[in-house]
């Protein structure tokens, strides 16, 4: 049956919400003995392209790796090893790609992220993922 979560994908962006997700994902890993995959996506949107992009992208990349390292440290304290990805492009598209490539069973996302203009209760990225992903989604609140 497809009931067991063998692979859990956790997209993180450095916000408090994503930390919450990570904790929740740890609990699930404990319970289901599953593999954890962390992903940070460097956003490449149009306004960024128009600005001085090289410097900006470098900054974000550094930020991303820092966050991933931090998360990994946290996980290793709990005795969990995770695969780590740093991707560039549209956030939702990249997450979808990873889901397909790694055949994940569950995506754990927070209800809000760092996006400035989010919906009232649910963030735009979380919303898009829950609408379009092919696997189950857990929205941590």
């Amino acid at each position: 049956m497809t009931n067991s979560f063998k692979k859990i994908l956790v997209p993180i962006d450095g916000s408090i919400y994503s930390e919450k997700c990570l904790e929740r994902a740890c609990e699930l890993v404990d319970a289901f003995n599953s593999n954890l995959i962390l992903i940070y996506v460097v956003e490449k949107s149009l306004p960024i392209n128009l600005l001085d992009r090289k410097e900006y992208l470098n900054m974000i990349r550094k930020f991303g790796t820092k966050i991933l390292e931090k998360a990994n440290e946290k996980l290793s304290k709990k005795g969990i090893t995770a695969k780590i990805f740093l991707k560039e492009g549209n956030i939702v598209n990249e997450i979808e790609k990873i889901v397909k490539k790694e055949k994940c069973d569950l995506v754990v996302v927070g209800n809000k992220g760092l996006g400035s203009v989010s919906r009232f209760l649910l963030g735009s990225v979380s919303n898009k993922i829950s609408q379009s992903s092919s696997c189950s989604v857990l929205i941590v609140k």
Partner: protein
Amino acid sequence: MAVKTKKILVPLDGSKNSIRGLDMAIHIARQSQGTLVALSVKTVPGIYAIHPLGFLDFNSMTEVKKLLSEAKVRAAKKGIDLTGKAIAGDPGYDIARFANNPKNKIDMVVLGARGRGSATEIFLGSVSNYVLHKSKKPVLIVK
């Protein structure tokens, strides 16, 4: 031991997807030794509240109750406690209200990606979407 999801809310509407949601909830409950609460909402259009013929519709509550007893049997086979609850009203609104009510102590809501509602959205059902936005508890969407 680790998962702190003791009480899981499973809204049921009799569709295949909601049964899948129920199976998933049973699976999670087994891992965390939790209990299930099945909620089945009989859709009552608002007009019936004031319409004189509204009472004609109320005897179909039996259909909902049958659904709940089936779910109970399904959960009991796996050794999980399931309490059923039948409500008449608007599904999205009532599920969200039930989940948010601190008296009910719901830790997680498990939903099928879409149920019986007509095709309002291509991938996610309208009720799932409503609950997703309005509930203050974690929501698991089963696809």
